[in-house]
């Protein structure tokens, strides 16, 4: 995101309901660069702040396919072309025996890509983040709910935005230094 001395304007709410409502209103008011913070997942909050395309499933699918394919091809290549040997009279390409490893590889790769895909898309790890500059933000992982309008938002103006957030019933509104 664009670097400005100010990161954004943050307001605090005390229930999921108020937060979701506020998020909706902010979005309707034409703010695009908005985000909300909560101590647990809240249904509909992401949509409220205008988040729609979640790519995690796609990444996972690709991972799974790669894993499964490489698993089977590895076994196929080893048993039929790299060093084919007669094992107990079984054919070199004993596909029924290869299914299990293929399956496990699928799961393994899918799982790994799901997790690391999610982290990557979330831009984690990010131990430093401007929002931590707000002292009360420590409660975002306990029982407080926050809404932020980023300074990079075209409609952002310190005075205007503060007034707007107050109108939403947000408390302890503060400008987040970058």
């Amino acid at each position: 995101m664009k670097r400005t001395p100010v990161y954004g304007m943050m307001a605090e709410f005390d229930s999921p309901t108020t937060l979701v409502a506020a998020a909706h209103r902010t979005h309707e008011a034409g703010y695009q660069k908005v985000d909300a913070y909560s101590p647990f997942p809240i249904e509909g909050l992401a949509e409220a702040v205008g988040f729609h395309k979640n790519r995690v499933p796609l990444v996972t699918l690709i991972g799974g396919l790669v894993g499964g394919l490489s698993g089977y091809l590895l076994q196929y290549w080893i048993s039929t072309s790299s060093y084919p040997v007669n094992v107990g009279g079984k054919p070199y390409h004993s596909w029924p025996a290869f299914i299990i490893v293929t399956f496990e590889m699928t799961i393994l790769f899918a799982g790994i890509s799901a997790v690391f895909g999610m982290l990557a898309l979330n831009g984690l790890p990010m131990p430093y983040h401007p929002v931590f500059n707000v002292p009360r933000f420590a409660f975002a992982t306990k029982d407080r709910f926050f809404l932020i309008v980023f300074a990079s938002d075209p409609k952002y103006s310190p005075a205007e935005t503060r007034r707007f957030l107050e109108s939403l019933g947000g408390r302890a509104i503060s400008e987040v230094p970058d």
Partner: protein
Amino acid sequence: MKTEDENGKRRREEVCPGKKSTLDLDAARARIADTKGPEFWRSLEELAGSPEWQEMMHREFPKGASEWLDSVSRRGFLKLMGASLAMAGMTACTKQPLEPIVPYVRQPEELVPGRPMFYATAFTLGGYASPLLVESHMYRPTKIEGNDKHPASLGGTDIFAQASILEMYDPDRSQTINNLGEVRTWGNFLEAIRGPLSAQQAVQGAGIRILTPTVSSPTLADQMRELLKIYPQAKWHVYEPVNRDNVLEGAKLAFGQPVETHYKLENADVIVSLDADFLSAGFPGNVRYIREFAKRRDPDSVKMSRLYVVESATSSTGAKADHRLPMRAGEIEQVAELLSKFLEQGHPSDVFSSQREKFAAAVANDLRAHRGSSVVIVGDHQPPIVHALAHSINQALGNVGKTVFYTDPVDANPINQTASIKDLVADMRAGKVDMLVIIDGNPAYDAPADLNFADALKSTNVPVRIHLGLYQDETAELCQWHINKAHYLEAWGDARAYDGTVSIVQPLIAPLYNGKSAHELVAILAGQADPSSHEVVQSYWKKQHPGADFEMFWRKSLNDGWVESTAFAPKQVSIRPLPSISAPTSPGAQNAIEINFRRDPSIHDGRFSNNGWLQELPKPMSKMTWDNPVLVGPAMAERLGLKSEDMIEIELYGKKLTAPVWVQAGHPDNSITVFLGYGRRRAGRVGTGAGFDFYPLRQSATAWVATGVNIAKTGETYKLATTQGYQTMDTPVGQRPLVRTASLDEYHKEPEFAKEEEPPKDLTLYKPYPYEKEPYAWGMAIDLNACVGCNNCIVACQSENNIAVVGKEQVVLGRHMHWLRVDAYYQGDRDNPKAYFQPVPCMQCENAPCEVVCPVGATVHSSEGLNDMVYNRCVGTRYCSNNCPYKVRRFNFLLFQDWETPQLKMMRNPDVTVRSRGVMEKCTYCVQRISEHRIDSEREDRKIQDGELQTACQQSCPANAIVFGNINDPNSGVSKLKSNPRNYSLLADLNTRPRTTYLAEIRNPSEELGS
């Protein structure tokens, strides 16, 4: 080439060490010498025995792993190395260290490095020679084979001959000349006896006594005669605990002169054995007899012979019998009498007073129907009268000259050995003996108890006591002078086979410890100037074969392995009237418990007790190893409330000793059998302390059978090590068709009876592997009808494939390493069951269950259908063994191989990898032999001929029961057998498609007795 392979064990893979240890002999000898002879070994024995050691063992192997404690006394040296080596293996799987390679300075002409050579020689037991061909790698004898050209072998051997190679390399063998425990030189000895000898010259050697075992060596006999010429008053005594006095006396009784009796079993339609175990090692000529017997047991080609056995214990001969009658040894005499009676008069009626009468009558009728084509054989331990009776019966039936032959005795000095040693002890006690020379015997251990030889040797004043022997044994201990004897593979000599044929015994290797042979010692006594055994033997034969062509004659004799036309000519002897039939033994004696003393099937009279291969060799009937329990019949055991492994106290003539019991199916009632040769005090690391010594009960008057034993249960138990889990094919839910049998008639009616419906070839998703495209497809067929359970194949396999000995405790745990085992199964009446033998090597299944489950592909199939075992790839999951329905795989649970002892490294077959700890191993049809022959044949641009390539077990089998070859060749011997209707595969219903198959066993019972 000779590669010193010292750092073998630290090599990249620890399965390999020692394999290529084509050791520099001189270097090895030097190293053994450098370590100052005995100390080298003794120190270890002391270490093994010392309290610190025991304590250390406790720490290292806490209780519960107590097998170690015992293993120390057994195989201490080996165990000692265990830990360090294992570590070496663990750490050193990365880089191969630099290895030295040591060429000759002057290389012998005939030597092609890397190719074995074969030399003919002969092994002698009880005076009887077994002719051999010995394989030698870089002048190290490594494997013993029978001399296939020699009538007494025809390629077969017996277990003792096979195992004698280990005896040769035994690190416990005496390595020095000792005087009162001090190491001395041969020179010292020569000086020391010069005085006494000259003193004896004055008195014509009146004080000289020489005690030898049975001697058939013409040279030694000649030397002795020469010696007795010089010292007319000297006496030559002969004694062996397992002697043939009764045979001798029997012959005298019948013919008035000692004769050797031998048999042509290939001409015999009916064989009657009166307690004669003529199918097992130790019986003179057994190798040849097994061959002939097996030949006549083939139901397909020839008229199958019939075998009746009356026996006082259980033996493999009894197991092969068509009709077997268990009977106390003392009563067999009466059977013999009945037999001769019925032969003359026939049996009056068809009502029989007793089982034995019925049996005798039936046998008599059968014999009468086969005049001239029958034979009655009597066991060595039966009293003279029985032998005499047999002689008269054979005469009466006109068998002499057809199935029975008489010749001069093979024994060069045929005297009553028991009497002989009695005289000796008498003279000793009478102080008549100034110089006693004991050549290769251990009377202090095995002489009759009533003579108390050891005591005589100790207490009586025999000024000069000289012992020549392979070991510093119980007798050596009591002699001032001990001279370490050269092993027969180390020195020249000669000996007669059972038919009189003389074989020259030529050495395969220079004496490892500069041992001396009997020839050399006797030459010295005869005042000669220290000649070599070679000179002695050759000069004798020069006398026998004077003339210019001696060199020719000599070379030929060495080459063939026997001396032309030395076999005894058949001898015409006339039977003399026998003394009137002795009165039947009193009923008192009838009820008294009888004890049989028998030579041990594995270690004979005790001379082989330090031989690990033989100690661990399962005895044919009980599959017992490392011990000699008292054999008791089931009925008697029940009566006395005895179970196997119970300890009992045996009392005979006031002497008591305790020993464990083994309940042996088929053993006659009211009688017990004990095997001699165990309980040695000074046998060596392997033999000392193993089993129980029964010689103290053995009196000269009742050397083989005694009555009036008292038995009492002590309440303790004793762990015995058998290698076979169960000896029955019957389970609570039905019988398992492992060994398939039928009577001859049934077989003729239904030849295909053995064919269990095998699964069709298309019973699988997969299409079978195209073995038929290959030039070779290896297979094996084992004829259960021919196999007599002599165990020879097991020892041959052990020798060929560097198989480790594991010790009693490991056997108890079921960890013995034999690649090839011979299962013995009993069926039917426990008091007189039918018994069957089944040799079980790896089946080399085409659909091998073991291969599919191996995660690293350490066992896979070769294109020729071998179930390859790649030791260096094995990680040791043991899954293959679990999944092997035949349980033929063996696992190195601990470090079983000895990697340190230079002698044992020299013994190894360099063509077979030495397996180490954590590795699975098994039979591979002697793949090293297959490769060798394939390469040779390919170099000569031809195919391997049928029969040219033999597995170790096949080659050594006296019965030709094992046939191996190319099953892609329809004319090969194995293909022919596999097309025999009797051919079946074990556990065929599992569809493993084994390459090893069996030919069902056929018995030939008489109508009269029924099956």
